[in-house]
Symmetry: C2
Subunit: 331 residues, 2 copies
């Protein structure tokens, strides 16, 4: 594989900013698309992203910044998508250049709401990209801790191991370790499902359940995740690997998680709409819950936690009553 392939990051949020930082440890140039011209000008003048991880200082001569997604993608060989899943569909509508010969890595932890597909599948079905050119970059990893250069472990999944290794070598540094995986479907579903379980953890906390219950909830969640993923894509995987269990834990037990915060507000009595307005954003897990529920209507895995969260988010059910019933199903 050509070792000089150029790498682009698509997105201006905290996870995109963290990925650019990681790549800057190893590359002379990182191609970086973000929507906001203001943010780009700010980075050029002040060496940091004004909106996210602003403690991270960049060397601007390492960055090729643009608010033109076509410019950035046409310059790059490997594109890492790190926009919120709710925006990926719209961002891609702006494309005039072809993605056909690109290697696409998804760092998006969720589902494309418009198609109900995980991001890899979306690229495969709608942009005709072969699975061996599709990969996933996943945690467990809070962007905030990358900013602090706290030791973190990423999993880079790709059906083509050479491409996974290529990216892993460019991401690894003193504070980042990478593991290679060939489970692009499972790791991406895990990254999406964990947001639903983080909402569940938040609801439980908001309702006044304690740490004992939380640990039982997480123990049930990982078993549920295993059942779900097995139905969607059966292959040999250890669900207790960091990309699955670790990612669940870092989100479920996190103070940073917006999904957990969203759930917490629901547990405390906010309606779905008022919680979303209060947060002035929609948590990834909100869409993930609907998509996972729909997928599972066909697949039929036993998913009491997913079902409970779905009934609260989309059937307007009372969280207290739903969790009382859920508690009887956990063990």
């Amino acid at each position: 594989m050509d070792q000089t392939k150029k790498i682009a990051v698509i997105g201006g949020g905290s996870w995109a900013t963290a990925i650019v930082k990681m790549l800057c440890e190893n590359l002379d140039t990182v191609y970086w698309y973000m929507r906001s011209d203001y943010a780009i000008e700010h980075i050029k003048r002040n060496d940091h992203n004004p909106n996210y991880l602003s403690s991270v200082e960049f060397k601007v001569d390492q960055l090729h910044l643009s608010s033109d997604i076509n410019e950035i993608i046409s310059l790059a060989d490997l594109c890492i998508f790190a926009v919120p899943s709710a925006f990926v569909y719209k961002e891609l509508e702006n494309l005039t250049v072809s993605l056909k010969d690109k290697i696409i890595f998804s760092a998006i932890k969720g589902i494309v709401p418009e198609t109900g597909l995980i991001v890899g599948e979306h690229f495969h079905e709608h942009y005709d990209i072969e699975f061996e050119n599709i990969g996933v970059l996943t945690g467990p990893c809070h962007a905030e801790e990358v900013a602090l250069e706290r030791l973190s472990y990423l999993t880079i999944a790709c059906a083509d191991e050479v491409k996974a290794k290529f990216l892993a070598e460019r991401i690894e540094s003193d504070y980042i370790k990478c593991k290679i995986s060939d489970d692009i479907i499972g790791t991406e579903y895990a990254a999406m499902l964990k947001n639903i379980y983080a909402i569940a953890a938040g609801i439980a906390h908001g309702l006044g359940y304690g740490d004992n219950f939380q640990s039982v909830l997480m123990s049930n969640a990982i078993r549920e995740m295993k059942r779900f993923i097995k139905k969607v894509h059966k292959m040999k995987r250890n669900i207790n690997d960091s990309a699955y269990l670790g990612d669940l834990l870092v989100t479920g037990y996190s103070g940073f998680s917006r999904n957990r915060l969203f759930g917490n507000m629901l547990g405390k009595g906010y309606t779905v709409r008022s919680a979303q307005m209060e947060m002035s954003m929609v948590a990834e897990g909100y869409y993930a819950t609907k998509s996972a529920f729909k997928i599972n209507e066909e697949k039929g895995a036993k998913t009491p936690i997913l079902d409970a969260v779905y009934s609260i988010l989309y059937d307007n059910k009372n969280p207290k009553k739903v969790f009382k019933k859920l508690a009887d199903k956990l063990d």
Copy 2:
């Protein structure tokens, strides 16, 4: 099975106090041994244990209290031991009555330091009690949350399912759910190993590692626990059940855990001795680490986390250096 069997709790600490509270929801009389005559008098006069979970109010006419262990054991058919593992050997030396026809449940999360055995094995080998009369009562469960009547899930393990069910029915209440298991060896080793991993979590925190690392550590810990327990006692078990993974999480992520606190102090630079003096107690995991390490010298499971903690506690190795090496072995 005779449904009128009498139940005794041996121990005066927070976990013993929580168990007595749970039993008082269902029984007319609970037999309760504790060493301290002062505490007994205090409970009789003021309806609560002066030293532990003092918010829990007892109805004194439900309690048969005594500081004479022989009196309590001779009156009971089923004895739940809930003293710290460091004291169980000495407490048992005071016995003059026979344990031969008793059903013994261990709620002790650790190893008997004098014999290096888990408590069930200790009773089996040193008191000639058949395994079908030995059981384990395990979490995930902080006693403090039982005091608050927060929903908690216990696992009651016994080779004889009838006895496990008998106890489960007397423990269950509005806020306690019980699961039955036949894995008395595995659940007890899990309860002991989790304290070692809680020390590891504490050391990592003390050294400045963040949440990303912590989730990877726990994800590796559950895989290590599975390997260890499989070597010691091979049977079909789901390591992600609450009694194993849940118990690991509630301790590893806990602010209550004394083992985690102990580890945290080591990570911050305290010596083992000074951390123990500062805490004015020895954390269960301190003994567990030595015993587990010795057992594993024979069994040969891959246990990098256990080995790291052992080298810090017993070989006086530098936590920072040890964890730097450990980090390379995790994934």
